[in-house]
């Protein structure tokens, strides 16, 4: 009899002699014993729950296959995670000031939020931009705006993340143009651009053209950066928005990895060598309330990705196999009621991200259910990370929860459940086909509705919302965006547009349309175009004309 069988037998004895009689007299609380995603949770985990568990194949060592314990050999002992607070509002000058403030406060990387018009391919002066300019992020129409955004920030010394998708190619072109103007060589430019179009169709819903041409542009960017901007991550394969749209943790894990498989397949189909681009693929996961489930999710993600890259795509370089990830605390878990409670939620979620081995982290501000965060609220959120990094001792050892019977069992369970979804998507013919069929969209809408009903019935406690409710709460101070800035931005863009040589602009747009049609990589043409101050909206119009507009299937 091996050790595991011995323990299993001993556990059965404990259940019969100690646990069951005890429960008979004093029953357990009548709450659902399951994770936030509905995974059943047992009263106790022992080695008996880890059937077929082999330390070396399941966990291994940090920096080695299958990377369960972490992607780097020293993890936070070598370098703490990057503290990267997402910021952007108003005019480029407003966001530039917030960037400089965050860098002064010890933040280690920049992260840019763009406004809805920029995200959807409209200039500030377009009628569809009315009411939206600078409200949910910074307003960017031309290179002139991007120059103001990064004024006085040396792009060779900071890394910048840009959360932008269907217009990501344009933002990257502008960023590289600013770097060129600063005299920073492209091999020194580092950062990440979200550029994950597949999850747009699944969850975040910012798009211009249909999935096929959208992915083609992504592959252009992967190809271009792998050759010319080697320190840049050209896509951040994102589960965050999938989760925020209402998926379970397992669905987030599965759909994100399925998207990743979609990009790798598309790039391989283009003829790129997998080891030439895979090391620069990065990920982005949501960190929700269920502490252990979130840690298990990140560990399972690393294990699945390593296996997919090695077994399915034949990647050889260890760097191609490691899933590096940004994380963000769950916006959707924040409550408008008793907003200071969000500070506690964010701290616990941030701790889970760190225990899950994240490479970078954004902590949400407590006031974001009311408006974009104030400087004070952002500072508390950043300090939360600094407290975890420098006061708690948590980063001193690698994967400190590794070996926990519960965590390992949960990691295995999540891995198995995610594989079932990935196989289903394979059977449907891949992720683009699955999106066309509305499969992930429907799964998420159903999960979101189920979750809401549980919350409404009080089956899931939301402190301050359906339990421990307080009447007559005092409103909190929040950030206000000056509505006059919209008109100012519109004026600026209009003035700039008339100052250009129209024949030059036309020529650039024609070159771009040609590159779009004949399949050459669009990035060099784009960089030339933005340097001549061709605008984001004008370039997006070319995409609309050449590739057509995406129409969503209505699912609710």
């Amino acid at each position: 009899m091996d050790e595991r069988e011995r323990i299993e037998r001993a556990k059965k004895r404990w259940e019969a002699e100690t646990y069951q009689p005890f429960v008979k007299d004093s029953p357990e609380r009548p709450v659902p014993y399951e994770t936030l995603s509905g995974m059943p949770v047992k009263p106790l985990y022992t080695p008996a729950d880890l059937k077929g568990f082999d330390y070396e194949t399941k966990l291994g060592f940090p920096g080695e296959y299958p990377f369960t314990r972490g992607v780097y050999p020293t993890m936070y002992r070598g370098r703490p995670w990057t503290m990267r607070m997402f910021a952007g509002f108003g005019r480029p000058e407003d966001t530039n000031a917030r960037f400089k403030y965050l860098l002064e406060q010890g933040q280690t990387g920049l992260s840019t939020a763009f406004d809805m018009p920029a995200l959807m391919g409209y200039d500030a002066d377009h009628p569809r931009a009315r009411g939206e300019v600078g409200r949910e992020g910074v307003s960017i129409s031309t290179l002139a705006d991007m120059e103001r955004l990064f004024d006085g920030i040396p792009l060779g010394d900071v890394t910048t993340s840009m959360t932008i998708n269907c217009t990501a190619s344009i933002a990257l072109a502008m960023y590289l143009a600013v770097a060129d103007k600063q005299g920073v060589s492209r091999d020194r430019v580092g950062g990440t651009i979200q550029n994950d179009l597949l999850k747009e169709f699944i969850a975040q819903k910012e798009w211009i053209c249909p999935p096929e041409p959208a992915v083609r542009i992504v592959v252009d960017m992967i190809e271009f950066t792998s050759k010319h901007v080697p320190k840049f991550n050209p896509v951040s394969i994102s589960g965050y928005h999938i989760r925020e749209a209402g998926s379970t943790a397992v669905q987030e894990l599965a759909f994100t990895l399925a998207d990743g498989i979609g990009y790798v397949q598309a790039a391989v189909n283009r003829g790129l060598g997998v080891d030439a681009f895979a090391p620069r693929l990065s990920f982005f996961f949501d960190i929700h309330n269920d502490f252990f489930e979130e840690i298990a999710k990140l560990r399972a993600a690393r294990r699945i990705w390593a296996s997919v890259m090695r077994e399915r795509f034949g990647a050889k370089r260890p760097e191609s196999l490691r899933l590096r990830t940004h994380t963000q605390t769950a916006g959707v878990s924040a409550t408008a009621q008793q907003p200071l409670n969000n500070i506690a939620r964010v701290a616990l979620q941030a701790l889970a991200a760190v225990l899950g081995g994240a490479q970078s982290l954004h902590t949400n501000s407590y006031d974001e259910t009311w408006a974009l965060p104030t400087e004070e609220a952002v500072t508390v959120a950043l300090r939360t990370q600094q407290i975890i990094a420098e006061e708690t001792g948590v980063p001193l050892t690698i994967d400190p929860l590794g070996g926990s019977f519960y965590l390992e069992a949960l990691t295995d369970q999540m891995e198995e459940a995610a594989w079932a979804y990935i196989r289903k998507i394979d059977e449907l013919g891949g992720i683009i086909r699955a999106i066309d069929l509305g499969y992930p969209q429907r799964e998420i809408a159903d999960a979101a509705y189920r979750y809401q009903l549980m919350e409404d019935r009080g089956d899931k406690t939301v402190v301050g919302v359906n339990k421990y409710v307080m009447a007559n709460e005092k409103p909190i101070a929040h950030l206000r965006i000056d509505e006059a800035l919209e008109l100012e931005q519109i004026e600026k863009v209009k003035r700039l547009k008339v100052s250009r040589d129209p024949s030059k602009v036309d020529r650039r747009l024609r070159q771009l349309a040609e590159a779009c049609r004949d399949g050459q990589n669009i990035m060099p043409v784009l960089i030339d175009a933005v340097k001549d101050y061709v605008s984001l909206g004008e370039i997006s119009d070319v995409y609309r004309q050449v590739f057509g507009l995406y129409r969503e299937p209505i699912i609710f």
Binding site: M116, P117, L119, M120, Y122, R128, A129, R130, G131, E132, R135, E136, E200, Q204, K205, E206, E244, A245, G246, V332, A334, T335, A336, Q337, E368, T369, W370, A371, L372, A445, A448, Y449, Q452, L453, E455, D456, V462, V465, N466, P475, H478, R480, I481, E483, E552, I554, I555, F556
Partner: protein, 134 residues
């Protein structure tokens, strides 16, 4: 003659893609027995009002999480007035700070729901405040 069912259009005006709330509200209203038309994303105020008039609805529920609520709600109200369709009740929800809620209500928005609102509350509101007009 049997009373006609209350018809509601749930709409996502503007460029914002956050549709979790809108879809949940659409489904909850449908499950509560109302007739629901969901517009899908990225609608202009003109498109929303055209749908509302064409579908002869009794109410419009607007969902805005991008901070553009002041412009978009106002524009929908203006367009309804232009079309002589002010009898259509406008309500909505999203990330909307208290002072904006007060201003929007003064402008004619019947009710605004912020995060944490249960679907029952919204169903109750529709039941109590919206009548099917013949």
């Amino acid at each position: 003659m049997a009373e006609r069912k209350v018809r509601v259009v749930v709409a996502k005006p503007g460029l914002d893609g956050h549709d979790r709330g809108a879809k949940i509200v659409a489904r909850a209203l449908r499950d509560a027995g109302f007739e629901v038309i969901y517009t899908g994303l990225h609608q202009t105020p003109e498109q929303v009002v055209a749908t509302a008039v064409q579908e002869d609805v009794d109410a419009i529920g607007l969902s805005v999480l991008s901070g553009a609520h002041n412009y978009l709600f106002k524009r929908v109200l203006e367009l309804l007035k232009e079309k002589g369709a002010e009898d259509i009740v406008v309500f909505g929800g999203g990330i909307i700070p208290p002072e904006d809620i007060a201003a929007l209500k003064a402008m004619g928005v019947k009710e605004l729901f912020t995060p944490g609102t249960s679907t029952q509350e919204i169903v109750r509101f529709v039941r109590e405040h919206i009548r099917a007009t013949v």
